[in-house]
């Protein structure tokens, strides 16, 4: 379908640009604040772009437009949850976290609690969420690159995953937060520009009449008007409806608990700039999801739902195929150029997101586990950065190995799981810590492990892992799916909050309560918060 030479060339251009940025950034990185937080020198607009870059993964770019092209309206439901979720970050988390922490999610808990248990718990959930998310992206990268370059060879797929992994290790170990942030910025600009171009070209095919595009999409989908209504993907049984509500909860509450999003707020000089970053992120992400609506319905209308599914059953190639169609169709020069362009944008997207995730995990392992749990803070900055680089290397290598083993897992499921764990394990302790004086170490530890274990446990006993219900279960022939829902959020999120509450009221920790006023003053006013580094 594609012009492999052109696509490969553009891929190499993306790789060359990002490597150049990384090397440039490495020359300006010296201490821990540079390595973990990019010196806290980014502007609101720059960080807004970087946050969008971290957030708009291949799962949203390819996955949502693909889901819309296959299931119509139901695909759009994802984008709404993903966007509304930013209000939690804006109103409750971003600014307070910026003022009360330093490098990792655990910092703001450790401010008033016992270091070892809370840092260990927060690090476990950080690495857990990031690994689920990382697997989703890398498995996606393997499939995507194989499809785009038309190599349907298991060996080449593995090589692609290893290549993506090697690049991500390079960005993170060499460039640190500064390099990774600039890679996100470049990726966000490429993604927004590429998406805008295809959106305009697609709308032009219908004389910019959205109603006409929707009508043709409904006709071409083979579903008629039902394609524009809720219910095609999630079905009509009560279980399916509760499952959907459960997913909707995880999406809206997960974002503000994603560690790789949270540590972005440390890269700016003040909490006010953190607020501006979220404003920009909401604007950019909102417009992006509006455009994916056009991409999805446009692809259904111009390429056809079945045609898209014949190339990839999940519909993940809807956007690239739409680009080819609006460029002049298969075999045309315009079509080949636009297809290669969108493929390169998707590739840049994957590279940037996996780098952000690896950096987050490595920071947490080095700063929380090694520096503060293992060495009790007795080490130099240079030592800590060295450990962070080694951790990035190890986590990257583990991610490559797991991705190669996990190639048959469903990507959308892994992303939804990452959001569910973030909402169940991270959000409760984050909110309790910022707003509840009585909250303490046992509460935080119970909330994190309770949310994490209930979430992963329910998934293990769900129809996604075993049994014949979904048709795509890992073990379709044996059945231990005692929990009927695929999405655990509706149970595990309240459970995380409940465990945090129970842990707190069954123990008394004077130190944590005594330090709460400090935390409160610091988080609301920024008095004593970490400042920017000036070189």
């Amino acid at each position: 379908m594609s012009d492999s030479l052109l696509t490969s060339t553009l891929f190499l251009v993306v790789v060359a640009i990002t490597i150049a940025i990384t090397i440039w950034a490495s020359r300006q990185t010296s201490g821990t604040t540079d390595y973990y937080a990019g010196g806290r020198q980014f502007t609101g607009f720059q960080n807004g772009l970087a946050v969008s870059g971290d957030y708009m993964s291949a799962a949203s770019f390819l996955g949502i437009s693909g889901a819309i092209s296959q299931y119509g309206y139901d695909g759009f439901l994802y984008s709404i949850g993903f966007l509304v979720a930013w209000l939690v970050a804006l109103l409750l988390v971003a600014e307070l976290l910026r003022n009360s922490g330093r490098y990792t999610m655990a910092d703001q808990l450790a401010y008033r609690m016992r270091q070892v248990p809370v840092r260990t718990a927060a690090s476990v959930s950080t690495v857990g969420v990031s690994i689920f998310y990382l697997l989703a992206q890398m498995v996606g990268a393997g499939t995507l690159v194989a499809l785009l370059l038309e190599v349907d060879d298991g060996w080449l797929k593995n090589l692609t995953i290893a290549g993506v992994g090697a690049l991500m290790i390079f960005y993170v170990t060499v460039g640190g937060m500064k390099g990774t942030t600039w890679v996100q910025i470049v990726k966000a600009v490429l993604l927004m520009t590429g998406t805008l171009l295809i959106t305009i070209l697609a709308l032009a095919e219908f004389g910019f009449n959205i109603s006409e595009m929707l009508g043709q999409a409904a006709d071409q989908s083979g579903e008629g008007a039902a394609f524009l209504e809720p219910g095609l993907q999630y079905g009509t049984t009560t279980t399916a409806k509760i499952d959907f509500i459960s997913l909707a909860l995880a999406l809206v509450l997960g974002t503000a608990g994603l560690p790789h999003i949270l540590i972005r707020f440390y890269t700016v000089p003040t909490s006010r700039v953190a607020r501006t970053s979220v404003q920009w992120a909401i604007t950019l992400i909102g417009f992006f999801y509006l455009m994916t609506l056009v991409l999805g319905f446009g692809a259904a209308a111009l390429v056809g739902t079945e045609q898209i599914a014949s190339v990839d059953p999940a519909g993940n190639l809807a956007s690239p195929l739409l680009a080819e169609a609006v460029g002049g169709g298969e075999g045309s020069t315009g079509g080949a150029i636009l297809l290669a362009l969108i493929a390169a944008v998707a590739f840049a997207t994957i590279l940037a997101v996996v780098a952000g995730l690896t950096l987050t995990s490595a920071s947490s392992v080095a700063h929380d586990l090694y520096a503060n749990v293992f060495r009790k803070g007795r080490m130099t900055e240079a030592d800590e950065v060295r450990i962070a680089r080694i951790a990035a290397f190890v986590i990257g290598a583990v991610a490559i190995a797991l991705s190669i083993l996990a190639q048959d897992l469903n990507i959308a499921f892994l992303v939804a799981l990452a959001f569910a764990v973030a909402a169940s394990a991270n959000l409760p302790s984050l909110l309790y810590n910022l707003f509840w004086k009585r909250f303490n170490t046992r509460g935080a530890v119970w909330a994190i492990y309770g949310g994490l274990v209930s979430c992963v446990g329910l998934v293990i006993f769900s129809p996604v892992v075993s049994g014949p219900v979904t048709g795509t279960a890992l073990f379709p022939d044996s059945d231990w799916s005692y929990f009927p829902l695929s999405n655990p959020g509706i149970v595990s999120i309240p459970f995380g909050f409940l465990m945090g509450y129970l842990g707190t009221i069954t123990s008394r920790e004077r130190a944590s309560e005594e330090r709460y006023p400090e935390l409160e003053v610091r988080s609301l006013t920024g008095a004593g918060a970490e400042g920017a580094v000036h070189h």
Partner: protein
């Protein structure tokens, strides 16, 4: 034990925490943030419930091929943009001046 602060820092934090300005800042912030969160969550959950349990209503045609479901979905986008802008205005006018004053006082007291 958690991150350490000096006695002077601790005293400064305690003084600020006890001040009327800080109580006002906290009251204003929590008032807006909690009310805003309840409002957008309720509005979002209403939308999710309508999408699951009121498919017929959602399928009503508004104009051309555009139905209620699409309009409500787009309204979720609009309300998100709106709340973000309103919060920002509110924070600039009603929160930042108090926070700045308290922080400057702290910096002076600690001597940075």
């Amino acid at each position: 034990m958690a991150e350490d602060v000096t006695t002077r820092q601790h005293e400064a934090y305690t003084r600020i925490h006890a001040s009327e300005e800080f109580s006002l800042l906290r009251k204003r912030f929590r008032g807006f943030a909690f009310a805003g969160t309840v409002a957008f969550m309720a509005w979002y959950l209403l939308y999710v419930l309508l999408s699951s349990f009121a498919v017929d209503f959602m399928s009503t045609q508004v104009v051309g091929n555009i139905n209620v479901a699409l309009v409500l979905g787009l309204l979720q986008f609009a309300s998100t943009f709106l709340l973000a802008v309103v919060y920002s205005k509110f924070a600039n006018r009603r929160l930042d001046p108090i926070a700045d004053e308290l922080r400057n006082g702290y910096d002076k007291e600690i001597g940075r």
